[in-house]
């Protein structure tokens, strides 16, 4: 085999197994064996270039903004409270009473939702009463601030000593969760069998329960 003949079959040879004839040529030709070695090396090293770079944070910000403007993100911003130090045992349990309260709220919601045909207007009002204001609200809005229930006020008093910015965030998240709950309840009063709204109400209760739990987890602040 000549160098020209080897060259003709070279593409098949790279990353593959040379035929006995090609191998015999490679053994006797340092130019062709060097070439094959280099091309194999380039092909194998190229994999290092995959996932080698990272985009700037601006890319995600732009994506998120577009998703929101197009309505693809339907749920509220995930609630994230940074935990800077692990709370002590006593600190953790000081606000632990909030968890059963939230759990009870969730149980009430589950009981009502899994028997949607029994839910009449009176029942719906009973669910609504302990949670938030009974004032009818026509449009969901994160800016609206429904009246706080007794549990909510106790919860806020637990976090009253926190920095103002954190307190404002708590309040804003709580208002948002309450607004969700109110809207979902109002819709369910009109159509108790609306499965989507039932799920929305469950999500809202879960979000509120999560807020309560975060206070317990984050009570060192």
């Amino acid at each position: 085999m000549t160098c020209l003949e080897f060259e003709r079959d070279l593409p098949e040879c790279v990353e593959g197994q040379p035929s006995p004839e090609q191998q015999a040529h490679l053994n006797s030709c340092p130019t062709c064996s060097g070439l094959l070695l280099d091309l194999n090396s380039i092909a194998s090293q190229a994999k290092m270039l995959s996932a080698a770079e990272e985009p700037s944070a601006a890319v995600w910000n732009a994506i998120e903004e577009r998703l929101r403007s197009e309505g693809l993100i339907r749920r509220s911003e995930p609630i994230y409270l940074p935990v800077e130090a692990k709370p002590s045992f006593m600190q953790r349990w000081r606000a632990a009473w909030l968890v059963p309260v939230a759990a009870a709220l969730a149980v009430v919601a589950v009981v009502k939702l899994y028997h949607p045909t029994r839910l009449n207007n009176d029942d719906a009002k009973q669910v609504q009463q302990p949670i938030a204001s009974t004032a009818p609200v026509k449009n969901a809005s994160a800016k609206r601030k429904p009246a706080l229930s007794h549990e909510d006020q106790q919860w806020l008093s637990t976090v009253a000593a926190r920095p103002p910015a954190q307190l404002a965030k708590f309040r804003s998240d709580l208002d948002q969760a309450n607004a969700f709950i109110e809207d979902a309840q109002e819709s369910l009063q009109q159509d108790p069998n609306d499965v989507y709204m039932q799920q929305m109400l469950m999500n809202a209760y879960e979000q509120k329960q999560m807020l309560y739990e975060l206070v317990v987890d984050d009570s060192s602040h």
Partner: protein, 200 residues
């Protein structure tokens, strides 16, 4: 509690994130983005050689993905689906800019890049072992656009020639030929680079 913990930063699996993203969960979108952003961005950067364009294309690829995520049924791997979409976004962009995806000299026989330069063989002339990521990256950036596209898709991203032929709109033989020429060109560029470094 599971929901709350997940939203507080506990890692979602990809499958969980996909299901939650279908419901419009912002955190799930971010998980999917974080899982795949490097590979998608690197692909865009390799193909365009421009960070601003690469970021725009990365954004566009993910937006297309998220808009269509409700149609993802899991028949193929999510990463395969995403990367195929990213490649299509990049190729479409290259077409818009009228950049040649496959060089017109493809069918020419014995062109410069396709021929082995006869050099006296000497083991110390070989590149193997001296190729690092930065040198290779620089050399890839210097490739003509058509060669670069095929090289990136095959050797970097791992697509097969039949897939590349379909995506780029060329024959399988054309894809193989371009790849071979791209590798030869890279070898040449890397050797020049090494020789220049040796002179300094």
């Amino acid at each position: 509690m599971t929901d709350a913990r997940k939203q507080q930063g506990e890692k979602l699996t990809e499958a969980e994130a996909i299901e939650r993203a279908k419901q419009g969960d912002a955190a799930a979108f971010k998980v999917l983005y974080d899982l795949h952003k490097r590979r998608v961005y690197s692909l865009c950067l390799r193909m365009t050689q421009n960070t601003a364009s690469a970021e725009d294309l990365t954004q566009e690829a993910f937006l297309q993905l998220f808009r269509k995520i409700g149609t993802f049924r899991g028949e193929s791997a999510f990463s395969t689906w995403l990367h195929r979409m990213s490649v299509n976004v990049v190729l479409m962009q290259l077409r818009k800019k009228n950049l040649p995806i496959v060089p017109i000299d493809d069918t020419l026989e014995g062109d410069e890049e396709g021929t082995i330069k006869k050099e006296p063989g000497a083991p110390d002339e070989r590149l193997a072992g001296s190729i690092d990521r930065l040198r290779l990256q620089r050399a890839v950036d210097e490739l003509p656009p058509g060669y670069r596209t095929i090289f990136v898709l095959h050797d970097v991203e791992g697509y097969e020639h039949n897939e590349i032929a379909e995506m780029v709109g060329c024959s399988i033989g054309n894809s193989k030929s371009q790849l071979h020429k791209a590798r030869l060109k890279l070898r040449e560029l890397l050797r020049v680079d090494r020789a220049e470094k040796a002179r300094k």
